[in-house]
């Protein structure tokens, strides 16, 4: 089974990065502060995470900072797994 951070990275690359624009995204690449993912699109990313991992992410924790890198997203998801 793929590691969570690879799953999230793959989703981000497929959905938000244009293959032609030369952007390389890694686990620590800023997503929100760099403008790769805007605040409105963050909602669809949140829906993806909730669906994939069968969790509920509270709105007050789904902040730009928490969603800013794949690593920080994984930390947020792991915090809510098993709750």
């Amino acid at each position: 089974m793929a590691e969570m951070k690879d799953v999230v990275l793959e989703y981000v690359v497929n959905e938000y990065v244009d293959e032609d624009d030369g952007t390389t995204v890694s686990y620590d690449t800023p997503l929100i502060s760099s403008g790769i993912v805007d605040s409105f699109s963050m909602v669809s990313l949140k829906v993806f995470l909730e669906k994939k991992y069968q969790i509920k992410l509270p709105d007050d924790e789904a902040t730009p900072e928490a969603f800013d890198t794949v690593n920080s997203i994984v930390r947020l998801v792991q915090k809510h797994q098993g709750k």
Partner: protein, 581 residues
């Protein structure tokens, strides 16, 4: 002392000619916005003054003087003219907030073209609708966004030129042009088009309840409204460092993110980066920004981050804050005073009005939550919802309306004279656009509702139609619904605004599914991403409700107002036309 001084005194002694005095304008000067914002400032001896401080993500930072602004806008004007573009041609500017966006906007105007800026997050369908409507002849874009243009090019016969201004020239397709103005030879002289007061200048698309977006067309004399409000409302002075956070894909980003500040020779800053509170505060601190014009959505996002983070930055340079896009709630006004020592002053205007119409002013008592009072020279009222007569009793809600004739008023909806006429109460069926914009007996109806209190302050209530105001941007439900039913799973759709603590409203979709399709989380996500890519992230439903059927009138029209009322916990009103089961 503020530029406006006493609001009451300005009301008594008002004349739009004051705008010319503010600019030091002499009769006979060239009235071309592109030239006024660059060549004219240089001719005043400010050529070496900083015009633009630009920062991108990471450590990217570039600065440009007014001499640079002149040369690079000339560069674009010459390039476009050399390509055979003519005065009156619509030239779309479709890029992120990179410096070339600002240079090319002025360049298009200098060559006599009509600048059509579009939000770079638009998907190919949103782009296609707007380019087709305008009959756009050329588009300036970047390698990052050109793919969306390629996807629709064969459906746009008028679109002759695709010009890529940033990126890798080797990746262009056949027929596309590459022009990097900063690498090209500087063009120190270009004879700007001899535009007149009524020469078309800018075409901004805005959404309505029905039909596709409409192009609000402005003219070069709009500058008088933009300059005077820039001076009296935003209170800029020669030594200010100004930041307008709006994207020029929307009207605030051109009227007050390009035209207003640069006509007055003001240094302005642009941040082309994603939003985080720390990044914004650092930007203000590092650039010693003094005047900050932002939006309620951004302010509420900053509120969520609290005041501790504010203390980590030196924001003492700030001296004046203003807000636009949607009503600024009282809590945000009070909070900003606590956080920054200054209240955000709310301003109200629209794509169609071209400049600020109702506002709070420096020195005038602020009533938190109020839109303020009409700008001097603007005759405003609220009209009875049914009779369309002006309401005289304080506190009663009506339609915000203005007497036509202010300088920056839009002159047409591109190619839609009937729709334009429909915005004026009291207009005869055969009134020409010129008659509409000059007839002092008509009312231009804004589409927003408010009341006026006993002291003359306006209090916003909401839209008078189904248009969704999300984060200060208008989203047309028809456009969203049209895109939704293009999804394979969707049979019928309705899009309405639902309350949101940060964006005021966000899009919520109600959909019925085609036979054999089952609702699921996967489908929700698929539809969301479908709309995000086709239209824009703003138009993407933040919530999708799968329903058996949509509420309709007996004639089959979807009753959006019923769905909206349910979302807002409001009375849906008369439901006598609702179709029975």
């Amino acid at each position: 002392m503020s530029n406006i001084g006493s609001y009451e005194q300005r009301l008594r002694n008002f004349d739009w000619g004051i705008a010319k005095d503010v600019l030091g304008w002499r009769e006979g000067e060239l009235l071309n916005i592109g030239a006024i914002c660059s060549d004219r400032v240089c001719a005043q001896g400010k050529g070496e003054k900083l015009a633009l401080v630009w920062e991108g993500f990471g450590d990217k930072r570039h600065t440009y003087t007014f001499n640079d602004l002149k040369a690079y806008s000339n560069g674009f004007a010459k390039f476009l003219a050399d390509q055979g573009l003519k005065p009156g041609d619509r030239v779309c500017i479709f890029m992120d907030r990179i410096p070339s966006l600002y240079f090319s906007f002025l360049g298009v105007l200098k060559m006599g073209g009509i600048a059509q800026p579009l939000f770079s997050a638009f998907g190919d369908e949103s782009l296609e609708v707007r380019l087709a409507s305008a009959g756009t002849r050329a588009i300036l874009t970047t390698q990052k966004h050109v793919k969306k243009v390629r996807a629709i090019h064969d459906k746009l016969p008028a679109l002759e030129k695709i010009i890529v201004v940033e990126g890798d020239a080797s990746k262009l397709k056949e027929g596309e042009l590459f022009f990097d103005v900063e690498s090209a030879p500087r063009v120190e002289r270009f004879d700007a088009f001899r535009s007149g007061p009524e020469t078309p200048s800018v075409l901004h698309y805005t959404s309505g309840t029905t039909g596709q977006p409409k192009g609000a067309q402005h003219v070069h004399s709009s500058i008088w409204g933009q300059v005077l409000t820039m001076s009296w409302v935003l209170d800029v002075r020669d030594d200010d460092v100004y930041w307008c956070t709006a994207d020029p894909g929307w009207v605030t980003g051109t009227s007050y993110g390009i035209i207003g500040p640069w006509a007055l020779g003001i240094t302005q800053c642009v941040l082309d980066s994603g939003f985080t509170a720390a990044r914004w505060y650092k930007f203000i601190q590092d650039n010693r920004i003094t005047v900050w014009y932002s939006a309620p959505t951004a302010i509420r996002s900053l509120m969520r981050e609290g005041t501790d983070i504010v203390k980590q930055f030196d924001l003492t340079s700030l001296r004046h804050l203003a807000s636009v896009g949607e009503p600024l709630n009282a809590e945000a006004v009070v909070w900003s005073e606590q956080a920054y020592g200054l209240p955000f002053l709310d301003t109200f205007w629209q794509t169609e009005t071209g400049s600020i119409m109702i506002s709070n002013y420096p020195g005038m008592k602020v009533k938190p939550g109020s839109m303020g009072k009409p700008f001097p020279g603007i005759t405003a009222t609220v009209l009875d919802l049914k009779t369309h007569e002006p309401i005289t009793e304080p506190g009663r809600v009506g339609l915000i309306a203005f007497r036509p004739g202010w300088p920056s008023m839009f002159r047409a909806y591109w190619g839609r004279p009937e729709t334009y006429r429909g915005k004026f109460v009291g207009a005869s069926e055969n009134a020409t656009p010129d008659e509409l914009r000059t007839n002092p007996n008509l009312w231009y109806v804004s589409g927003d509702r408010s009341s006026i209190d006993a002291e003359g302050y306006y209090w916003f209530v909401g839209r008078d139609d189904d248009v969704i105001n999300t984060g200060g941007h208008l989203v047309g439900p028809f456009e969203v619904e049209s895109a939704l039913i293009e999804h394979d799973a969707v049979a019928e759709a309705a899009a309405v605004g639902k309350p949101d603590p940060v964006n005021m409203e966000v899009v919520k979709a109600f959909v019925t599914l085609n036979p054999g399709v089952a609702a699921s989380d996967d489908l929700t996500l698929d539809i969301m991403n479908f709309i995000r890519k086709r239209l824009s992230p703003l138009a993407m439903p933040q919530e999708i409700a799968f329903v058996e059927k949509l509420p309709k009138t007996r004639s089959g029209k979807i009753l959006r107002r019923y769905l909206r009322a349910l979302e807002w916990g409001e009375d849906p009103g008369d439901l006598s036309t609702l179709e029975n089961d």
